[in-house]
Subunit: 252 residues, 2 copies
Amino acid sequence: MTQKDKSILMIGCFDTKEENFNFLRQCIVSHGESVIAMNTGIFGSTSLFPVELESDLVAAEAGESIGDLRKRADRGHAVEIMGKGAGKLVSRLLTERKIKAVIGMGGGGGTYISLAAMEPLPIGFPKLCISTLASKDVTRQVGMKDILLMPSVVDVAGLNRISRLIMRNAAAALTGMAKVNLKTDEKSLGTIAISMFGNTTACVNECTKLLEAKGYEVMAFHANGLGGNAMETLIREDCFVGILDITTTELA
Amino acid sequence: MTQKDKSILMIGCFDTKEENFNFLRQCIVSHGESVIAMNTGIFGSTSLFPVELESDLVAAEAGESIGDLRKRADRGHAVEIMGKGAGKLVSRLLTERKIKAVIGMGGGGGTYISLAAMEPLPIGFPKLCISTLASKDVTRQVGMKDILLMPSVVDVAGLNRISRLIMRNAAAALTGMAKVNLKTDEKSLGTIAISMFGNTTACVNECTKLLEAKGYEVMAFHANGLGGNAMETLIREDCFVGILDITTTELA
């Protein structure tokens, strides 16, 4: 399957925000891309556009039934389950090479579900989330991923001149990335990670020189609380051929 | 001047991050776009690529000399002045219709300067910032703007396989938006803003119906602390023909 045959995955609660997703979908399609739509809304669906992956499937991936989620009526629990299920489905679509970019849109719950769904996507794989929370602290949810956050400015509720501008831009940004991004499945980066801080910079520089002379690429992470997390995330993604953790500031 | 003749504005500290900006610039140029480069670094410049707007010009816009900033060596003050000067230059480039998109990249200081520079750009005008802080709380800096934030994942310091992927994606996203965005100078939206909250929803819905029946577009803002700010920002940008501020929760 070539990059051109792959689709854009659109994730969201189509039960309450169908108008917005219908418009967003049209914007993506206008760039010549096909869309796979995944519904994460537990109270229903939409008839405005085709939905390839319905919410009962998403819930089932996380081991629960959509009926039970509806009955329980616990928003926090539903959001967690749908995020987990969406992530599993995204993993599978990625392995099956069916998708080349992912877009989400939502308020608090929708943003959380979208970001959880994007968890399994490797760095460099185009991912974007239109969110009412985009300018708040979403460190925990974004993690160390390269998720583009687009502030929705107005609420994700209905179409108006601002929401249309925002969605049009988001679709253009995502499809722009999807068109040039051809190495999204590259996982191993053949690189050596090194942790650094002011007090180890001289040592890091010396190590880097020696390693580069041997033909390795060296990637430094600032051990300031964020850098170490990024490094560990990438270690778990199997991005490095070696680690030189010579700065343990974050443990102190 | 048509949209095609306009350039992409690239803002950053070229004294310390020239390698990254050189690569980012090449990525943008590879999409067939021309670049105007604005240097906000106070300690020097670069010879890797042409710089159209040098840092002495940026400082002068804010009423200070680059020499004084260097001598004073107060990082916080320098960042504030360069952000202010960059914002004024961006305003002028916008009025002269020379730019169609703006991109910034940086760590703490560079991010702040870029976001301040983007302040004058209207909603819908493509703007993106690659930042080490992208997933932290940047509400104050982003304000209520539709600035796309791209987490840099690794530090903005030198080129490696991750930073290249991130910059390539950012350039593709920005130029993708610049290509479709043709109505960036539209300021007045001919819309009525209305503030809402749970306790006024019924009233808001009734007002909306009446106003829409009269041919107005109605835009609701959730008075939850963020929505009111967004509404006020847009009021200052002259986006509305009328305001119905019937929900004063944020004053309480």
